[in-house]
């Protein structure tokens, strides 16, 4: 028995990590799914981000979602049938000497996080440097999460897409959506080439393009497209276990790095670049790379002896309050959103897909998502 052509229980627009994992978990729950992607799945923010599988630093109310996601990361091979290169090798967030007040913030965060199941170890001075000798003298203290780590963003969303297809999902790549509307009981989603897709449930996981769809249902949101500033070194013998990041109020100081099993050190952060959703391209600005290198030398001076072999970027969508849009529409029954995660979306990705599938299939979820309601941007 198959549904009429172009009809399914759920249509998902946007094939990033959120959309692909939602398709997978919806199929696990037995709903028929059609996912539509403008280009290839996982090519923009989901595929070009740093690859942090990091819970610490998230709002405390987001930790249940992050914990749910972590279970998927740990179980990824059995879940989706391929290796996402998840390395549960720890994550450390550090602050500099000139901002001693951040040590108090770290302690305060660790206290609250413990109640949500995230245990953090605070280190400073010699204890920090004995354990992580690569830190420079400017580093004052760090907060270490043993169970976090990092994974390969290039592999994650496509792996969820293939696993969803294996469970019966239909995924159309190279399918640009130009219109979406509700007609009777169904949403009708129309592609640029004239094909249309119908379903009683529509899930928008379109990242930087999310507003283009939410606006069609009277819910415009201020998504700002940007591009991450990513670079990678030549491979060197494996020596750095944790993913490392800086806690600071300044964007240009916010750099991070991780070493993959192959030996390359992936570096991200400092000033983000512009991106061009209409042209489907994003570029690393040369001056932003130099700024990143300057701050990396301060964080870990020995890295100054290595070479950068490549930079990359992708199209991200940022919300003004750094919280995503996730949950049901405020205007249209059957319409759901999960976009605007950039800056901190990769780790929670599989949790978002699982939670959206739960919400769509059962009508509710115990995971707290009220803070992400799209109605916070409603006029008046």
């Amino acid at each position: 028995m198959s549904a009429p052509a172009g009809h399914s229980d759920v249509v998902i627009v946007g094939g990033g990590l959120m959309g692909c994992s939602a398709a997978f978990f919806l199929r696990q729950r037995g709903l028929s799914v059609t996912l539509l992607e403008t280009d290839l799945v996982g090519r923009q923010a989901s595929g070009t981000n740093f690859g942090n599988v990091r819970r610490q630093g998230r709002p405390i109310h987001q930790l249940p979602l992050a914990n749910r996601a972590l279970a998927s990361w740990r179980n990824a091979k059995a879940l989706v049938g391929s290796d996402l290169e998840f390395m549960p090798s720890g994550h450390i967030r550090v602050c500099y000497r000139e901002r001693p007040e951040l040590v108090g913030a770290m302690e305060d965060y660790a206290d609250k996080a413990r109640d949500e199941g995230l245990s953090l170890e605070l280190l400073s001075g010699n204890a920090l440097r004995d354990r992580f000798p690569f830190f420079g003298q400017d580093v004052l203290a760090g907060s270490y999460s043993a169970l976090d780590g990092h994974a390969n963003p290039r592999l994650a969303a496509p792996a969820f897409a293939r696993a969803a297809i294996a469970l019966g999902a239909v995924i159309h790549e190279n399918t640009r959506i130009i219109a979406a509307q509700k007609s009777g009981e169904d949403f009708v989603v129309t592609a640029g080439d004239g094909r249309s897709f119908r379903a009683p449930i529509l899930l928008v996981t379109a990242g930087a393009w999310g507003n283009a769809l939410s606006s069609q249902f009277g819910e415009p949101v201020p998504v700002t497209p940007r591009g991450p500033n990513m670079s990678v070194t030549e491979p060197v013998p494996y020596a750095i276990a944790p993913a490392v990041g800086v806690m600071t109020p300044l964007e240009e100081e916010t750099v991070y790095f991780r070493q993959v099993a192959r030996g390359n050190i992936v570096i991200g952060g400092s000033t983000r670049g512009p991106s061009f959703p209409d042209q489907y391209r994003a570029y690393v600005k040369p001056e932003n790379l130099l700024s990143q290198l300057k701050h990396i030398r301060r964080l870990a001076p020995e890295l100054g002896r290595l070479n950068i072999i490549r930079v990359w970027s992708g199209i991200e969508g940022y919300m003004p309050d750094s919280l995503p849009v996730m949950g049901p529409s405020g205007t249209t029954p059957g319409l759901f959103y999960a976009f605007g995660f950039s800056g901190s979306g990769f780790q929670i990705g599989p949790g978002v897909g699982e939670t959206m599938a739960e919400l769509i299939a059962t009508g509710s979820t115990d995971i707290p998502i009220a803070a992400y309601d799209i109605r916070r941007f409603a006029a008046g």
Binding site: L40, G47, R154, L155, P158, R162, T233, E234, P235, R262, Y283, V284, K285, P286, E287, L289, L290, L293, K294, I296, R297, L303, G304, R305, L306, N307, I308, I309, R310, V311, W312
Partner: protein
């Protein structure tokens, strides 16, 4: 009006002649070059203190080499010359350069990219063993350092460089074990009419073959390489190949120089956001440009082998033409007769180059039959089997997609050496035309850039 700021990247034949034309028009271009000394690759100069003669270094091309070097020396007071300097990115009308001491962004009104070429390589089982070089690499060792890459060397592949480098090695006293050309002899016959466009160059090529035969070097055509034998301790120990007649033979050697003609270095054109098109004759994606070297991006000009593989003489003419195009577009006077003469000459060079492509075709069928165990991407140790598995299991049909999943072309050369062969492997496995596989997008930095770039000298 302020003097137009013109930047030339590369100080080989194209860059030198471009600079000369600009200086003649009264401008002072900046010339940025990776080399220690000007000359580029084919007219690469030996380091200071080496005393080999022009005749010894450049053979039949000694006169041209001397002329080019002297022209560049004469330009030095009139140009802003930056040797040993890498242009690592281009953005917002600036080139970003870096060298061992300093870095900066230089603004330009016109940019002439003369980025040259590298060897086009077709993988062979065992080509990752120590002692295996590209033909160009083998030539650099000899020309710059007066070193041979081994004691008994097999030269393998196809293209004019195959015969030139083998003959240079033989003349320098190295033992050339064999020259194994994968192109069938018949291809040369079919290509002869086009190659008659430049009789003297054709004659030079024939002379190289005769010299090799006279020196007792076996020269075979229509050869298919099977395996470069070797191990981690000794490096290359021998080569197994199949003759045109179908016999499998083994030859002992301790070094192999290989390559199939050349490929354009197009990363800078890509970073400058020039449009590219697929060239079915060379089976390469090349930046689009008009007969004078104008790219699709206003103010960006392309010349020499970095744009189209047409050889050193065409590069000299192309550099000069691109400079004239830039001058005309900047509103400066250009000699119409000079331009017309250069365009005529370029037509002959283009015809000859087409003949060479046909005489020494890229053996794409070798990619399809490459054993699974053969390394395709040496930087990242990705085998043909790894790549085929990714194509089969993930459905990746496009070069960048296959790179994302398999790491092919993701290493420090960014696919410059494996990208074309990897595209053929993907196309064969997916049974799609190679042009639909596309090309690896260039990413900065063009070559590895130190993390210490921009650090204040303490």
């Amino acid at each position: 009006m302020a003097e137009p700021r013109v930047i030339i990247v590369g100080a080989g034949p194209a860059g030198t002649r471009a600079a000369e034309a600009l200086v003649r028009a009264g401008l002072r271009p900046m010339v940025i070059d990776e080399g220690q000394r000007s000359g580029g690759q084919i007219y690469r100069r030996q380091p200071e203190g080496f005393g080999r003669s022009y005749a010894k270094l450049y053979g039949t091309e000694a006169g041209r080499a001397r002329d080019l070097h002297q022209s560049f020396e004469a330009l030095l007071p009139h140009i802003d010359y930056r040797p040993e300097t890498l242009v690592w990115n281009i953005a917002d009308q600036h080139v970003w350069w870096a060298n061992a001491h300093d870095q900066d962004a230089a603004p330009f009104d016109a940019l002439i990219v003369c980025s040259g070429a590298t060897d086009r390589l077709m993988p062979v089982l065992g080509w990752h063993h120590a002692g295996c070089y590209s033909l160009g690499g083998a030539q650099v060792a000899l020309k710059a350092q007066a070193c041979a890459i081994g004691r008994e060397i097999v030269f393998m592949g196809s293209g004019p460089l195959l015969y030139l480098v083998a003959a240079q090695y033989a003349a320098a006293g190295a033992k050339v074990a064999a020259v194994l050309d994968s192109a069938p002899a018949s291809a040369r016959v079919r290509a002869a009419p086009d190659m008659l466009a430049l009789p003297s160059v054709l004659w030079n090529g024939i002379g190289l073959t005769l010299a090799l035969r006279k020196a007792g070097v076996p020269v075979l055509h229509g050869v298919t390489p099977v395996e470069i034998r070797g191990d981690a301790d000794q490096g290359v120990t021998g080569l197994v190949y199949r003759t045109a007649g179908g016999d499998t033979r083994e030859i002992a050697c301790d070094a192999v120089a290989m390559g199939h003609h050349l490929r354009s270095e197009t990363q800078l054109a890509d970073l400058a956001r020039c449009a590219f098109g697929f060239d079915p004759v060379s089976r390469q994606w090349l930046p689009q440009c008009d007969a004078e070297g104008r790219s699709s991006v206003p103010g960006v000009y392309l010349a020499g082998d970095g744009c189209r593989i047409r050889g050193a003489r065409a590069a000299e003419a192309g550099g000069q033409l691109a400079a004239l195009a830039a001058l005309a577009d900047l509103g400066l006077a250009v000699d119409a007769a000079e331009r017309a003469h250069l365009l005529d000459a370029m037509a002959d060079y283009a015809r000859f180059a087409r003949g060479l492509m046909r005489a020494f075709p890229w053996p794409q069928h070798q990619a399809a039959s490459l054993p699974d165990a053969a390394m395709v991407c040496r930087c990242e140790a990705v085998t043909a089997g790894d790549l085929r598995q990714v194509v089969r299991e993930t459905g990746a049909r496009e070069a960048n997609r296959a790179k994302a999943f398999s790491r092919v072309g993701m290493g420090r050369c960014q696919g410059r050496y494996c990208g074309l062969a990897a595209a053929e492997v993907i196309a064969a496995e997916a049974r799609v035309p190679v042009e639909s596989v596309g090309r690896l997008r260039a990413q900065a930095p063009v070559k590895p850039l130190s993390i210490s770039t921009g650090e204040d000298a303490a």
